[in-house]
Symmetry: C2
Subunit: 277 residues, 2 copies
């Protein structure tokens, strides 16, 4: 394996990639999860590897929903645990009452234990989903298995990196769904009541920060929340713009076009700039 240089323009993305490959070798992440991560990488690259202003607003709205919910839950799969278990723990601290539940597409007792260990080590408490006692109707696979006290009775569910079938089944179950998904065309993003088109780590950090702000000032700021369709359209436009620009535009900096917009650019920027892929 080649060593990663910190000065590489895409150091962070490449480090995340290396971490996920290692997580796959240890069995935490399924092979299919690696492929899904690759798809996400492509979308994030198009997005400019930074949080769009519209995504920041969606994160703020997500915080509001989670804080206002009676039974908020966040559903965690292998990729989420491998990519940002500490982010889940921080979100749980920022949102009192947030239940964390393990849910795996490729479910084996070993993987459940591995994911649980990773989350608990990061500081997650009261973990659910280890011994599911209910099912989300309309799903044939292991993904249907949930905890009655958790996802089954949740009024608001945050589902990062979820698959389309499950997102749709949760909505049909009557749950308000907040998705974190880098693909604005995916069924998950389209099924969500509130789609956050952003990279997992940036999105979790954004929601947690917004929740803290809202709690410290006793509520969310006024203002109309962006519609799901507007959020997806904005992401699509940004990605298409970065693609059309081509390598020269991207060499300057991905997302640079968007920064001239009236919305301004969010200052929370953890993504690295520039090509090459």
């Amino acid at each position: 394996m080649t060593r990663l240089s910190r000065r590489h323009p895409r150091y962070r993305s490449l480090r995340v990639r290396a971490r996920l490959a290692a997580a796959s070798r240890s069995g935490l992440v399924a092979p299919e999860g690696l492929i899904a991560h690759g798809r996400g990488e492509a979308f994030d690259y198009f997005l400019g590897e930074r949080t769009r202003p519209s995504a920041a607003r969606a994160q703020s709205e997500a915080a509001r929903w989670l804080l206002a919910a009676r039974h908020p839950v966040v559903s965690v799969n292998g990729n989420v645990a491998a990519l940002d278990a500490p982010g889940i723990a921080r979100l749980q601290r920022a949102v009192p009452g947030l239940r964390v539940e393990v849910n795996l597409f490729h479910r084996t007792p070993e993987r459940v234990a591995r994911v649980a260990r990773r989350l608990q080590k990061a500081g997650v408490t009261g973990l659910l989903g280890l011994h599911p006692d209910a099912r989300i109707p309309g799903l044939a696979s292991d993904r249907a298995k949930v905890s009655r006290a958790g996802t089954f009775s949740a009024d608001v569910a945050l589902i990062p990196l979820e698959d389309g079938d499950r997102a749709e089944a949760l909505r049909a179950h009557g749950t308000r769904v907040i998705a974190i998904d880098l693909n604005p065309l995916s069924r998950t993003a389209r099924a969500a009541d509130l789609p956050i088109v952003d990279e997992l780590g940036r999105a979790l950090a954004g929601i947690a920060a917004a929740a803290k702000r809202q709690r410290s000032r006793g509520g969310a700021r006024r203002g109309r929340a962006p519609s799901a369709e507007a959020l997806l359209a904005d992401a699509r436009r940004t990605m298409a713009g970065n693609l059309t620009q081509g390598p020269e535009g991207r060499r300057r900096r991905p997302g640079a076009r968007a920064r001239g917009s009236a919305e301004g650019e969010t200052s929370r920027r953890t993504g690295a700039a520039g090509p090459p892929v």
Copy 2:
């Protein structure tokens, strides 16, 4: 694992994905290879999962270059072997004198043996790269290791799913480089003398078919070959167009916009139509 329905609109892509995941479990494909495949999936989805007319022309030009070369070689890594070993064997039959050489980023004796077995079982003959005896200058990693009789002395090299460093090093070495790469922004695609922005299986089949046609009629058809920049720009435009259309446009059929163009649509279509991702 859920069973795949043949009627799923993206049956082929999902089947390929399942095959690659299985190849990873057997050690043929490295975890990093799965992530790379996921990136490719996203790009192919944007492309409409079909061969663009410009890519078909690039494949025809590639056939011309390979047939005219003194020492043509195709470089094969784990993903290529897992995805389409039979396609490599068919290409070798269509291009007399084409050498096939194994080259792995994550090189271990076991993986080399696995890739070799897969290729030989598919019908590839005279396989090179098992005992490299030369190096491509300017590469630190195992990817530098090549066969003197193969890649080192090749005047034309076809490099499917190659990484950017190696593509650039091959060009600096004086080799004419034909890349197969779904990412029109990648360094590999940009470094290539002839970038083919298409899915591996479709591209290999397209080059082999063009080589057969050209041999049977004693040469390639006249006509100016598209420039590398024009090929990349066309792919970027198509992808951006499919993104901008959004789910409604895509629900109709990915790539549908492009089919109204003056170029017409190639009839060689192995990709499945439509969403959802």
